[in-house]
């Protein structure tokens, strides 16, 4: 496929606001996880929480969109000079030629939870406006409105692969000529639905999550936002690029992955094919690596079945928690930071690798030149997406 240049990008999560906070944490092994202290939650678990969202209401022309999820999106957009980069892109392409592609799993559902908590005999409070908050499209409409764009837009919600799939969608819209450049991104925020929902499935860990570890016992839920500007490559570009993507369905079970990771393997194969690369060309795999028993086993089988047991791999969920609908963009941007800085990040909190899992898990951060990085994102419904990023186009 024609590579797309990723000319600007930014991310915000429990590690802090902006790229530098995440890069420093990946280098030094600092986790953003903390014991769960979210209001109205009494679960013994750890979370990856972004500080002070409660004190950042959206105001002025964006006030209608006010909810935790859109606050987090706004905080994310304000980092790393992303807004001036979008302004320059608007001057180059026009506001109607830049598409917006946002992934989210639960959007602003926390607002709906709050409306139900405060309901009375007359029903939910009149000021409840789910079209601006809870609705899946609230996230993409908010970003489009906030950035002053008026071209095509889409909100993708395929659980934990949502904000990986935005890269594939944006590539296709650009190739089809629907837009000339794209803002891709993802945002998901902490809410009771996912904390108690995953808890009901017995998938929430009471400790910091330990991907690929023999003692792993579930996920920590996190929140995050990330955005990237994708453009057709210009000669002399030195920025990293999207060079492959693969999308597949397990067609197996709603919440349990295929035991041999057949769907995951299919997504990775497609991504390699589009990138015209062999398995040996991949220098690092950022695993989906949620730290549940079945997810890691399934992904290990898929990765080792395709790549063997030599390719360096790690899950970065131990840094941020599982940011669900934002996991794709968060880990894609980790991949870009690793490419730019020659960093193999460790699988934080993996103490002793499960003997039945064979992937080559990186236990200590290493400096090494990287050319191609693959990032995996898999979601409920058996929805899989693998992306390959290159150091340059």
């Amino acid at each position: 496929m024609t590579p797309l240049s990723i000319t600007h990008f930014t991310l915000t999560n429990a590690l802090g606001c902006g790229k530098q906070a995440s890069l420093e944490a990946l280098r030094t092994g600092r986790s953003g996880l903390q014991p769960c202290d979210l209001e109205n939650v009494d679960l013994a678990t750890w979370i990856g929480r972004v500080d002070d969202l409660e004190e950042m209401p959206l105001e002025g022309r964006l006030a209608d969109y006010d909810c935790r999820n859109n606050r987090l999106a706004q905080l994310g957009l304000q980092q790393d000079d992303f807004l001036p980069a979008v302004e320059q892109a608007v001057q180059r392409y026009g506001a109607d030629r830049i598409g917006v592609f946002i992934g989210t799993s639960t959007s602003g559902i926390a607002t709906t939870e709050a409306a139900y908590r405060t309901r009375d005999d007359r029903g939910l409070p009149a000021e409840f406006t789910p079209r601006f908050t809870h609705n899946i499209a609230s996230s993409s409409h908010f970003v489009r409105h906030s950035l002053g764009l008026n071209g095509a837009a889409i909100a993708i919600s395929t659980a934990c692969s949502s904000s990986a799939k935005v890269f594939a969608a944006a590539y296709r819209y650009i190739m089809a000529g629907v837009c000339d450049a794209a803002i891709v991104g993802g945002v998901d925020s902490l809410c009771l639905t996912t904390l108690y929902g995953f808890n009901a499935l017995d998938l929430v860990s009471a400790e910091p999550c330990r991907p690929w570890d023999a003692q792993r016992n579930g996920i920590n839920i996190g929140e995050g936002a990330g955005f990237a500007l994708l453009e057709k490559p210009q000669s002399g570009d030195s920025c990293p690029s999207l060079i492959g993507y693969g999308e597949s369905s397990d067609a197996h079970h709603m919440s349990t992955p295929h035991p041999e990771g057949a769907g995951a393997r299919h997504a990775m194969q497609q991504a390699l094919q589009r990138a015209a690369l062999e398995t040996a060309d991949i220098d690092y795999i950022n695993l989906h690596g949620t730290a549940t028993r079945s997810n890691d086993a399934s992904e290990d089988s898929a990765v080792c079945g395709l790549f063997g047991d030599q390719t360096p791999c790690s899950s970065t969920k131990g840094f941020t928690g599982h940011t669900l609908g934002a996991a794709g963009i968060t880990e894609s941007i980790f991949a870009l930071l690793c490419l730019q800085n020659g960093l193999l990040p460790q699988s934080l909190q993996t103490r002793q690798q499960d003997e039945t899992l064979n992937a080559n898990i990186v236990l200590d951060p290493q400096q090494r030149e990287l050319r191609h990085v693959l990032s995996n994102s898999f979601g409920f419904g058996g929805n899989n997406c693998s992306l390959i990023f290159g150091a340059t186009a």
Binding site: R119, G123, N135, I136, A137, A169, S248, M254
Partner: protein
């Protein structure tokens, strides 16, 4: 501009069991009379899976199943599922459970709460292992789904199943979400086709207002849900008429559909 074909259609609504019935209504002299929703029994699900599914999942699957009747190769189809609100019964039940002592959220309801639940059940039922995207776009959900499916079909050069569906909200959410009728429409789309029902050219435009239907009850149905915004297109196909149709898409942006019957 994106050009593609519609090969097959499935429709489920109150008083409308399938596309031939919808087509007869849209061609005929009479206005829409409403009626009962047909029993939702998509046969692609095994009985144990059907038990775990909801009226939202079932209406989506039933339309998909009709559109793919007689089609060989469902397992190789990519799919796009679009719905403004997803499964509001489940959202309602989870949000209620979260206000109760011990927060007794049902694990089955939680995994069915993901926006891509109908797509997941469809891929299991059809054995479809290709990519699948699930979207939401308020009243622009049909246009957003059509655009996404069209772009996938044209760029990847593959047939794509599009399903757009809604169920009216449960009591507590009723006054907050403008969906009054259950409706699902499915279309099999392909860039090139040997036996198309219609050819489409898609463009975005900032002016114009959304196409309406002349009969009052049908027009009321068109306004009853995001998925019913597909009715002007379905009417042109039913009547074998060329048409320029404007669909609501995004704030300040419409999707213009130039439709040629085949």
């Amino acid at each position: 501009m994106i050009s593609l074909s519609i090969e097959k259609i499935g429709v489920v609504a109150q008083g409308i069991n399938n596309w031939p019935e919808a087509s007869a209504l849209l061609q005929g002299e009479d206005d829409y009379q409403g009626g009962e929703l047909p029993p939702l029994k998509p046969s692609m699900l095994k009985p144990n899976e059907r038990r775990r599914t909801t009226r939202t999942i079932k209406i989506a699957l039933q339309a998909a199943e009709e559109a793919l009747q007689g089609f060989t190769g469902s397992e190789s189809l990519a799919s796009v599922f679009s719905s403004s609100e997803g499964d509001l019964d489940i959202i309602d039940q989870i949000c209620l459970a979260l206000t109760e002592e011990g927060r007794p959220v049902s694990p089955t309801q939680f995994h069915n709460s993901v926006h891509n639940a109908p797509a997941g059940y469809w891929s299991i039922g059809a054995g479809a292992r290709q990519g699948s995207s699930s979207l939401g776009g308020l009243n622009g959900s049909f246009a957003a789904g059509l655009m996404e499916a069209a772009v996938q079909s044209v760029v990847e050069q593959i047939p794509v199943l599009l399903v757009c569906y809604d169920q009216p909200p449960p009591e507590l959410l009723k006054s907050f979400m403008p969906i009054t009728e259950p409706f699902a429409v499915a279309m099999l789309l392909n860039g090139e086709s040997d036996s198309p029902l219609a050819r489409l050219n898609l463009n975005t435009r900032t002016d114009g207002s959304e196409s309406q239907l002349s009969k009052p009850a049908l027009e009321k149905l068109r306004q009853s849900a995001p998925s019913t915004r597909s009715l002007p297109m379905l009417q042109a196909i039913a009547r074998h008429q060329s048409a320029e149709i404007t669909l609501p898409y995004l704030p300040g942006l419409n999707l213009q559909v130039e439709l040629q019957p085949c």
